[in-house]
Amino acid sequence: MADLLVYSEKIGTACELAAKGREFAQALGLGVSAAALGTGAAAQAAELGAAGADRVFVGEDQALEGWPADSVAAALAQIVAEADAKVVLLGSTRRGKELAGRLAEKLGAGAVTDVNGLELEDGAFIAARYAFAGATVAREKVGSDVKVFAVMPKTFSAEDATAGAGAVVTPALQLATGMKVVERRAKEGDTVSLDAAPRIVGVGRGFGKKEDLALGDQLAEALEGIVGCTKSLADFQWLGEDRIIGLSGAKTAPDLYLSVGVSGQVQHTVGVSAAKLIAAINKDKEAPIFQMADYGIVGDLYEVVPAVIERLKAV
């Protein structure tokens, strides 16, 4: 029997894909395989089985250390062949997105990355993703025999998953990588969870320096909310990675998302488009964030934010 194969280096994402993958597979008459790759991957097999995988292909080859795109793609291509997979669902994390193109090329396949909606229409997958920097949503169909979709984390839920058999398969993989890991060091930083926050203040590059973010903290405090940020602020190491909202971070659905000094690039806004209410403070009236905001204030955040904090105190 042909299979649908799921893989993500993030076990939570892999389980989401397995759970939803099982629904797709049933509709298409396919089995569900999962791949668990990297050092200690065998430990993920039970979880992937519980999430819906009938078979879990485990690869712990040394060449998979650090998940180089070349060796991970090679491993998955070999697993695709062994499992006779027709559909591959990957997590559209940074690593997953890097992997998607390489794997698809190996398989002669079409691929869609950053998928935020995937459904079957008359037996064919339709994948939705943002296009034109978020101005539109493109719905794409892949015509190749094998289809690759890199799906954004949390697009699907692993809750209420139907378990699969979870049989462990250890394929003989032929792997090599050109990538050498010189060093991996942990980042310093705090930990917060944006996923369930009812009110989020999103801060962006409109803030001139790290110290100024205190203003964002005060605003969040006045709103009894949590501070999240665009990816660039985390890259500057002004805030921890767990505060990133968007493609490479949290996908949130708060009651209120108030952005401050955020231009509104799609990589960020995809993480807040499900908010009940979106508000924005930005000095550039042309900033794309205003196109998706319910309420906007065009002005200097250094003047507007203190005024808003002051006014909130009177509520």
Partner: protein, 255 residues
Amino acid sequence: MCVKTNPDPQMVRIKNREPVLEAVPFKLGDLDKNALETAIQLRDAAGGKVVALTVAESNRKIKETVKDALAMGADEAVIVDDPAAATLDQAAVATVVAAAVQKLGACDLLLFGEGSSDNYTGQVPSRVAEKLGVPQVGYARKVEAVEGAVRCERSMDEMIETLELPLPAAVTVVSEINEPRIPSLMHIMKAGSKPTQVWTLSDLGLDAAALAPKQEVVSNLAEEQDRKHIVFEGTAAEQAEAFVNALVKEGVVGR
């Protein structure tokens, strides 16, 4: 290094949920400029030559757009322009880029932006790396040349990684890597005299069949986001007053 020109996303307007592309100017992608700046700095530090390679697709003013890359400091430009390659999917773009790299001969390092400013699929660099059988690192925020190799630093989840690739290799960069230079008037004037080659698909030994699409866009419409688009005017205090009143009315604060 590879650059993509695309319709300026800031200039794309939506009419009846359809993107309107007429009269939208093409420009170099923002991340492509970061990749170009990286290439220029590597050349200045380690020697070599920077070739800006691009596929025209539907950009009819490709030569003008590519001049921006030459003005920034690329030594040469190669444009693949062919009516049969006006609309390509990512696999087809990668096929063209890989063939052009092979025609160019010994390229040590292929640099790309991590994604394009318009669609951001990030597929082309990985597909090209696979086609050429070279190792890759995505999302570099530092790139330096070391003996026979390239060393990259990237930020992934909770880790900072330092990675090394033997040359030839493919690397994509993120925006934090540098601040792309703004060319001086003199550099802009000189750009026109730098060598620019234009190749067709047959120059690359490719035909339309080699570029047959593997995927199709079924629809591409603006999301139906029902937002209020209310903008508050006035002094900061007046704006804050109206804004907070609105939040109270919406029931998101003060309850």
